[in-house]
């Protein structure tokens, strides 16, 4: 009865069943609550199929999804392509109109490094600790990019933690914002920003690429693609390329990214006590990054004439544009005339750049 010996049903373990439940929960949250559905839906499906026994989908050299993972993620192809699409979506106008807000994106990386230090103190290796710390940047592709190179065995857990916390920004950030600011501070109305010229927007991606890559060469794969996508957008002479990178290409790579990241989460990889730690430390990183951004904004207010609403510091974590929207909502609760969305987009974009620089520094020192 060779057929019966090959029944997958006979190889089901408790671990597989638990992973199916996790997969179905993510799929449920993606469909019914629309929590980051573009990523959590394929990730959930990837988890489900990777934990069906005897499929060989993730068998090295043979499995279908392993090929997506190997050539897409391990070869550092997909995260930079996601950044190409993000760049084509991004308007740097809010950042260029208020350059001082870029420091809030740097401050938010404080959570990344503090968590890195704490994770290492808890016994994680330096590479693992860096991968856990970068969750605080709330940037999925950067987390995946770094994890694939430093701690591939943690990739699935870190990616799911990053995307989960990005989806939970409206729940996690407001209590921290209210705790660290007064009603008066939240009600601050910021001075109207100047208009940014087209010429500035075209030159910025070129100049920023050169500056960042000259300082942190290891960040080149992400930052060059990000700025190339932005140049497509701002130059306005390659509308077909902008449209493709912004829509078709981004959607295609998102499918393969989600599916292959989910498929790395086998029961043996995921059902471990240290994964629980990763989720806790990831949350700590995210909360600390939010707090660091807020506190730097308060500090800057001690030295500046035009006051910054400290809430915009919370948008220094990447999570574009969710964090900026949450800042706007909390600011409007304090002062109905407050319109913080465009101000918060500045630190939000600075957070993306800051997280890429932080990842580049980790790679430089640990690879």
């Amino acid at each position: 009865m060779a057929f019966l010996d090959q029944l997958g049903l006979l190889s089901v373990t408790w671990g597989s069943v638990v992973m199916w439940l996790i997969a179905l929960t993510l799929i449920y949250l993606a469909i019914t609550k629309e929590y980051e559905p573009l990523l959590l839906l394929p990730i959930g499906f990837g988890i489900l199929v990777a934990n069906l026994p005897m499929t060989d989908l993730m068998t090295p050299g043979e499995g279908l999804i392993w090929r997506f993972y190997h050539y897409g993620v391990e070869w550092e192809v997909i995260p930079p392509l996601i950044f190409l699409g993000l760049g084509a979506h991004t308007d740097f106008g809010p950042l260029l109109s208020q350059p001082r807000l870029i420091f809030l994106g740097a401050a938010a990386q404080g959570g990344v490094y503090v968590t890195f230090f704490v994770a290492h103190a808890f016994g994680f290796t330096l590479e693992e600790a860096a991968t856990i710390g970068i969750i605080g940047g709330a940037d999925g592709p950067t987390t995946i990019f770094l994890a694939a190179q430093l701690a591939p065995h943690l990739l699935g857990a870190c990616a799911v933690a990053a995307y989960s916390y990005m989806a939970l920004v409206p729940i996690i950030q407001p209590p921290i914002m209210r705790l660290l600011t007064t009603q008066q501070e939240r009600a601050i109305r910021m001075k109207k920003a100047r208009t940014v010229t087209t010429r500035e927007k075209v030159i910025f991606p070129l100049a920023a690429t050169m500056v960042i890559v000259l300082l942190v060469p290891a960040s080149a794969p992400l930052i060059t693609m990000f700025m190339l996508g932005n140049l497509f957008r701002e130059s306005k002479v390659v509308e077909r390329l902008r449209d493709t990178t912004q829509n078709a290409l981004m959607n295609i790579v998102t499918i393969f990214l989600g599916l292959s990241v989910g498929a790395t989460m086998s029961a043996t990889n995921f059902l471990r006590i240290d994964v629980l730690f990763i989720f806790v430390l990831g949350l700590v990183a995210f909360a600390l990054s939010t707090a660091c951004g807020l506190l730097l904004a308060k500090l800057m207010n001690l030295f500046t004439k035009d006051k910054i609403n400290p809430l915009v510091g919370a948008a220094g974590v990447s999570a574009v544009p969710m964090a900026a929207r949450v800042v706007h909502k909390v600011g409007a609760e304090a002062n109905k005339k407050n319109y913080l969305l465009m101000f918060a987009m500045g630190p939000n974009l600075a957070g993306v750049i800051g997280t890429v620089i932080a990842a580049g520094i980790f790679l430089t020192m640990l690879r």
């Binding site: 950042l95 260029l96 350059p99 001082r100 870029i102 420091f103 994106g105 740097a106 990386q109 404080g110 990344v112 490094y113 503090v114 890195f116 230090f117 290492h120 103190a121 330096l126 600790a129 860096a130 100047r194 940014v196 010229t197 010429r199 500035e200 030159i203 910025f204 100049a207 920023a208 500056v211 960042i212 300082l215 942190v216 600075a350 750049i353 800051g354 620089i357 932080a358 520094i361 980790f362 020192m365 640990l366």
Partner: protein, 48 residues
């Protein structure tokens, strides 16, 4: 732990240095390209 401290300090310093250089670059960019060129205003509509 020494290595961790070194990465921690280098990381914080590196991120702030990178961002500070970008800040200077953006300020220079606003000086060089931040104002519309003279005469770049759209021409008045023809009345005939």
């Amino acid at each position: 732990m020494d290595t961790a401290s070194s990465i921690f300090l280098n990381g914080i310093a590196g991120v702030f240095t990178g961002i500070a250089v970008l800040y200077v670059m953006m300020k220079m960019l606003s000086l060089v390209a931040g104002r519309s060129a003279p005469g770049s205003a759209p021409p008045a509509p023809k009345t005939d």
